[in-house]
């Protein structure tokens, strides 16, 4: 472990390598089933990384993340059905649409503080679902949106589970690069400052509204991109898929993994999402919905034992400082 501690890149590459060879490892269970679970986990890692920017980095409770997820999914679905665009056009367009709505929602409401902001975001996500459900002319409402074409990459149409898994992995890498770059920049520092102390941040020359809106837009864009992938992967979307519960689930992943820490967020998703499947086999059929109870129980236990999550922000931060120290002082010698 000390090797990983000093150089997290090695750990990262090892995990990436594991993920890449995973589809080809002969395992007892049906490999398609396993891949499906893993792809879901990767999708939720993307979503959790996106959401993490708002409550984790900037310190604003966002209960409406699923709204952007839904916007992304429907943008992707509608674009695919009506215009049959390529995946590489759909993904950025969906992200841009998500960001646009993030700005539209964020600019007026980010002046609110704390709980009031959380309530507004909650209202927004409900609004999105209502709109999707009722605007029959656009979204077909409760009938759902079937017939989304499978994504094709360079003329090659994806069909196998492992191909989707790799696509998800690729998207995760892209999101990871974006989030890590943001975290270690002037922008990320401004977000942290806002989370730690708004007044002090203001007096350090940080424009609160501007950076909050930026965080909100970035988070919305990543969420919408996750939604776009989901629509292309599942090939059918329905308003019920974007219920409030999803927001809470993604928030749970972050709280479980460690608010504000990127590795923690991903670890949280990687543990909790497959846990659903474990519970599916462990619990009797009639009690499957009790899994939410178990999630709740798990969170309560976490709050008791490790209230800051699996990998707390402070820990990841002090580790980062150690690396900076090694880099700077090493350079001087």
């Amino acid at each position: 472990m000390p090797l990983f501690h000093r150089n997290p890149r090695i750990l990262f590459l090892a995990i990436l390598f594991l993920a890449i060879i995973l589809p080809w490892v002969p395992l007892g269970v049906s490999s398609n089933y396993l891949l499906r679970v893993l792809t879901t986990a990767v999708l939720y890692m993307i979503l959790a990384l996106g959401l993490n920017i708002v409550p984790g980095f900037t310190g604003l409770l966002d209960l409406g993340y699923v709204g952007f997820y839904g916007i992304g999914a429907y943008t992707s679905g509608l674009l695919a059905i009506h215009y049959d665009l390529s995946l590489w056009v759909i993904l950025p367009l969906a992200a841009a649409n998500g960001a646009l709505w993030g700005v539209l929602l964020g600019a007026p409401t980010l002046r609110l503080t704390g709980d009031y902001f959380a309530i507004v975001t909650f209202g927004f996500s409900e609004l999105v679902v209502l709109l999707i459900r009722n605007e029959l002319w656009l979204t077909r409402g409760p009938m759902g949106l079937p017939g989304i074409s499978a994504p094709s990459i360079f003329g090659y149409t994806l069909s196998q589970g492992w191909q989707y898994f790799y696509l998800a992995l690729f998207l995760l890498l892209v999101v990871l690069v974006v989030v890590v770059r943001l975290e270690n920049s002037r922008l990320g520092r401004a977000w942290f400052a806002i989370r730690e102390d708004e007044i002090a941040a203001q007096c350090c020359g940080i424009n609160l509204i501007r950076y909050k809106v930026m965080a909100f837009a970035a988070s919305a864009a990543i969420g919408a991109m996750g939604g776009a992938f989901y629509a292309k992967w599942f090939r059918f979307i329905h308003p019920d898929m974007f219920k409030f519960w999803e927001s809470i689930l993604i928030l749970c992943l972050i709280v479980f993994g460690g608010m504000g820490s990127i590795s923690g967020t991903m670890l949280g998703a990687l543990i909790l999402i497959p846990l659903t499947e474990v519970l599916r086999t462990a619990l009797p059929q009639s009690m499957f919905n009790a899994r939410y109870l178990i999630y709740g129980l798990l969170l309560v236990i976490m709050m008791r034992l490790r209230p800051e999550g699996l990998i707390p922000f402070q820990l990841s931060r002090s580790r980062k400082a150690e690396q900076a120290k090694a880099r700077l002082l090493g350079g001087e010698e």
Binding site: L78, I81, H82, Y83, L104, A107, P108, L136, W137, L138, R140, G147, V178, R181, L182, N184, S185, R186, L187, R189, A190, F192, A193, E196, D197, I199, A200, A201, Q202, C203, C204, G205, I206, N207, L208, M214, A218, F313, Q314, R317, S318, K320, A321, E322, A324, K325, L328
Partner: protein, 393 residues
């Protein structure tokens, strides 16, 4: 020598409580000016007014020949509030117009259309009158115009909801038009919002605290406000925020400019920490610092914004004799580097050692001013601190 900070007749009241009354004060470049006074004299309120965290009720603040705040005029404020409410109501009236497009064809639309035109014209006049000379107001007007064009087009296309055109290509305007109309509605919402906020020049304006910082006025706080979960170096890097220039695009692309800036900011940050003597703690979490070190870190963070004027709010509070000796030296060094310092302090030893000029506050009023020696002899000051003749029973 000009004046760096000029405060004229500054007053601040909270409801009926007058916290500051007609304070007049000046700071020259490279001068150390002290503010003393008993607890509750309004010293920190004064600092909050200077750094624009509070909006003064009356008076003027001029920093570096730029006015920071002009007072609120109540009559104008009321007018703007009313206009804002009118705007919001008009926005809601427009909502049924928007939805009427999706009603059956039998619904008579011409009346609604005329009503729409009427509202549009009123809105145009109101917005223009309210937001004269503001560039973003014209931007908003442009959005309105766009939405109005869409609005008109919508009538022409006669969108019929009974057709389900699902699975057939949707013409672009079917999507673009509702969006445009929605943009117009949002525009309304924004206008209403902006009007309830400060509109510069209309009723008293206040520069935002972050802009004040970027203009060159940095401050520390009486109750220390550090970013505790971040490293000491990160705290100072955040202070550099206003002096860095890489935005979202450069960060995502990680351009050479951004990388250079990041390397530079790390070095500069260490320099500022060296200046206050915290270099060896640079990579610890701010949480782990001792009290005196936290005070010094706050000063380093304020200095890293490259201020022309530094506001120190009780920097020596809770420090022992040796630490306050160091502090005196530190503030003198800051002045040597060309920064003026405005300092609130209860520790008279620190104050008499440092200040070139002292202002004395009591109950929100300026009761005395002068050089340290003159203030020490002033009868009014002695009364304020020890209780005056008649008041003592």
């Amino acid at each position: 020598m000009g004046t760096l900070l000029k405060v004229k007749n500054l007053s601040k009241s909270f409801g009926g409580l007058l916290a500051l009354k007609e304070i007049t004060l000046k700071v020259a470049p490279q001068q150390i000016v002290g503010i003393i006074g008993p607890n509750g004299a309004g010293k920190t309120t004064f600092f909050n007014c200077l750094s624009c965290l509070y909006h003064p009720t009356d008076g003027e603040i001029e920093f570096d020949n730029t006015p920071l705040a002009t007072p609120v005029s109540n009559s104008v404020k009321k007018r703007v509030r009313i206009s804002a409410i009118v705007f919001l109501i008009l926005g809601f009236i427009r909502l049924p117009l928007f939805w009427s497009f999706f009603l059956p064809k039998t619904f008579f639309k011409v009346e609604l259309f005329l009503l729409g035109i009427f509202i549009l014209s009123i809105r145009f006049l109101l917005v223009r009158g309210l937001l004269r000379h503001e560039i973003w107001a014209w931007g908003l007007m442009f959005i309105f115009l766009l939405s109005d064009v869409c609005f008109a087009l919508l009538f022409l296309t006669r969108l019929d909801p009974s057709n389900t055109f699902f699975l057939t290509p949707v013409p672009l305007h079917y999507i673009a038009i509702p969006w445009g109309v929605a943009a117009g509605l949002f525009g309304f919402y924004f206008i209403g919002l902006l009007c309830t906020q400060n509109v510069r020049g209309l009723f008293g304006f206040r520069t935002s605290p972050d802009a004040v910082c970027r203009m060159g006025m940095a401050r520390t706080f009486q109750n220390i406000r550090l970013f505790y979960n971040l490293s000491v170096l990160d705290n100072v890097k955040i202070g550099r925020h206003g002096r860095l220039h890489s935005g979202l695009g450069k960060t995502l692309l990680k351009t050479r400019f951004q990388r250079k800036e990041e390397v530079a900011v790390e070095k500069e940050g260490l320099q500022f920490l060296r200046f206050v003597g915290l270099e060896d703690k640079a990579f610890d979490l701010a949480d782990t610092l001792a009290y005196g070190e936290q005070r010094r870190l706050e000063i380093a963070r304020a200095l890293s914004t490259e201020p022309k004027l530094l506001l120190l709010d009780e920097p020596a509070a809770g420090m022992n004799a040796r630490e306050s000796e160091n502090l005196i030296q530190l503030v003198k060094n800051i002045r040597e580097d060309g920064t003026a310092v405005l300092i609130i302090e209860h520790d008279m030893k620190v104050m008499m050692n440092l200040a070139d000029y002292i202002y004395v506050f009591d109950y929100g009023r300026l009761i005395a001013e002068g050089t340290p020696d003159a203030v020490r002899e002033n009868q009014k000051v002695i009364d304020a601190y020890l209780g005056g003749g008649k008041d003592v029973c």
